[in-house]
Chain length 415, copies 2
């Protein structure tokens, strides 16, 4: 019987681990030999709609260290999209087009690496496939620095971002400790709905460094008066303080603190910026003290030179095992990480119906935040600590990191 091929795509925002999951899929396809080729769909599902596919198996054959380079390279080798399919009850034209494309390329499985919007696409495609009796396996592979996907213990990309945030907070702690005058430094960290990444900043603390001294997450309603009390107490005690804050903190009415600058993206998410600036302004209005804010911005999701080896390894395993699940006939699932209940940290690869994940958000449990709502508990520390362990050997060339090129994503690259 003629072997089928498969397709893989990436979607949503970058992480430094999402290419490792792609590498896992490609290596899994090569090792199992069940599929003939694995195509990469350029710019997520858009590649299927625009007939823009590349042969990843060929690429891996041509470039001997392709898989290893891919595992260590930031951003998204296949490009991304922020495109959500319409409900097929309303309009199934794109679904029909995609499944015809699957036939045209003799596709047996589609792997989609992304966050909860991408899992919504996996859910819709697998359900539509069922209605037309398709045997194409549709499998989701999680990624997001936000760590806000349900069921899975954590998401690939989060551990590396947490390591970068913690290391950066330590360096900021050093930077802010040099002057004898009191100062406040606010560090704004990504996380629209959940505070996992901002909370991870506490991993910066060690024997001598107590920065960040205060931590604010979207999970606790932000109260300006309590905040100013917290800041005054901390400045009296430590003189130079560092505050870690999620971009997505909200007041008791659920309104974003940075609401004055919010705009909406195509999914209707508020694109936030300026939460740190807002807190800076609040302090300036109420205290006579040196204050500044730092927004780590896209560096926290693209700094592959400081990834977590644990994270990169798990991302690879998830991609690899997604192939195994497809071969076993699974569809409409997302592969997940299940933490073993053991003394030493370890995870198993499991799966869940993707509808348990699509469109849902996993928040930091309230009991992992202290009662005052300005610090994390030991449970939170124990949860996140293993995820940032291990430093990669980063190859450098001409003084800068040597990553896998993304030239095929540039305009006119197919001409």
């Amino acid at each position: 019987m003629e072997k089928k091929n498969c397709v893989v795509a990436q979607s949503g925002g970058p992480t430094v681990a999402i290419n490792s999951s792609l590498a896992g899929v490609i290596q899994g396809v090569i090792d199992t030999g069940y599929y003939e080729k694995v195509y990469g769909s350029i710019h997520g599902v858009m590649g299927l709609l625009n007939d823009n596919l590349m042969d990843c198996t060929l690429k891996a054959r041509e470039l001997p260290n392709f898989i290893e380079l891919l595992k260590k390279s930031p951003s998204m080798y296949l490009g991304s999209c922020r495109y959500q399919l319409p409900d097929y009850d309303d309009d199934d034209a794109q679904y029909a087009f995609i499944f015809n494309k699957f036939k045209e390329y003799n596709i047996g499985a589609f792997f989609y690496i992304g966050g909860n919007d991408s899992m919504d696409t996996v859910d819709k495609l697998s359900k539509y496939g069922e209605t037309i009796g398709s045997d194409v396996r549709i499998i989701g592979i999680p990624k997001t620095i936000d760590n806000d996907l349900c069921i899975t213990d954590h998401t690939p990309g989060f551990g590396s971002a947490a390591k970068y945030v913690a290391s950066t907070l330590l360096e900021i702690g050093h930077d802010t400790s040099i002057y004898p005058i009191k100062s406040i430094t606010i560090v704004e960290i990504m996380g629209r709905d959940a505070g996992w990444l901002a909370g991870s900043s506490i991993l910066a603390r060690n024997e001598y460094n107590s920065a960040p001294h205060l931590v604010y997450l979207p999970e606790v309603a932000f109260d300006k008066d309590k905040f100013l009390e917290d800041v005054k107490d901390a400045v009296n005690k430590y003189h130079n303080i560092v505050i870690a804050v999620s971009e997505g903190i909200k007041d008791a009415d659920g309104k974003y603190i940075s609401a004055s600058t919010a705009v909406e993206d195509t999914f209707g998410h508020s694109q936030l910026s300026g939460t740190g600036k807002c807190l800076e302004y609040i302090i300036k209005q109420n205290m006579q003290i040196k204050v500044r804010s730092v927004e780590i911005n896209i560096l926290q999701r693209s700094a592959a030179h400081m990834s977590s080896v644990t994270d990169i390894g798990e991302a690879f395993r998830l991609g690899y095992n997604a192939v195994n699940f497809a071969i076993q006939g699974e569809t409409g699932i997302m592969v997940t990480l299940k933490r073993r209940n053991s003394k030493d940290y370890n995870v198993d690869i499991e799966k869940t119906p993707v509808e348990n994940v699509a469109g849902l958000v996993k928040h930091v449990p309230r009991e992992w935040i202290n009662e005052r709502g300005n610090n994390m508990t030991e449970e939170f520390f124990n949860y996140v600590y293993p995820l940032i362990q291990g430093e990669p050997v980063v190859p450098y060339k001409n003084g800068i990191p040597d990553y896998l090129d993304v030239a095929h994503l540039y305009p006119n690259s197919n001409e």
Copy 2:
């Protein structure tokens, strides 16, 4: 004859190489044996005024890897200050106090590691010393990520910051290339008066990465209309573009582009922020295209996990040789780096009267910027390229870098 002691202090803003110069001074004192002890003055000259000195020779004896840890640790081990002595013609009370302190501690030399404001202090102290017939040698050791000191080929701290900026720009280049829709990313880089660091972002370019596509420095008057033309051309060609900009760009009248948000520090320098935001605003007002700005902020001067081995080594040599110059009887000088006129990059340590440096600014030569004023020339590339070479082995502990503690700088640490 009883041996004298010496004092070292650090001043101005942090770099990741300034502790390496401190390590060089301490090692130089230990190796030459000319001075009995080297004291560290905490918070620059303030430590002398407040009798806050620590025994660095003792510290180096107690902690076997102190020197090596110090070389790799960010920020300023002895703390800093932004304090400028008054003219001694107006008020010599503090001068008299400091030189009495020198007598009290039997000091034969004072080493001051800093930028051009600190060199002003070196100049004043050495000239005052001359007027009272003091034999205390006063020596300046350069540092600044801005690279804007005269005479010396470049300044310690610049190479590491340039390496961080270039590597970060490469990672931002990856990050911005993933979406099929056009986009503009503005990266604001430190540099109030000179564009050395923003210019160094061009080292991010390699076989596939052309980011940054446009570069704007304070050395060329910023013209809004030309800027918009540049941006439109670049977006048409590359779709996703990255713009590197110095915080200190000015218009033809010499007014900072970010002037609306400028405040002044105690030296009368404008504290700038928001240049990137200003350019973002200009684009939003004139083009219908996705645009965002990223401010690398204090990370570029504190990210010791990505320092340049070349830079760290040169910083150490300057500190070490400052001790030699003091022993030879030099005073009122700053140690400098002189690039050899050879095929392979190499520098010699020289010296210059500190009045050649104090209060002056070295700008990027206009001919090292292209005629249009939006890119750097090959001469600039050749100048800066050797300075970012070499990657340090960074020790990690618990998933974050393992630096030398700065706990002695915390309030109440002397109680």
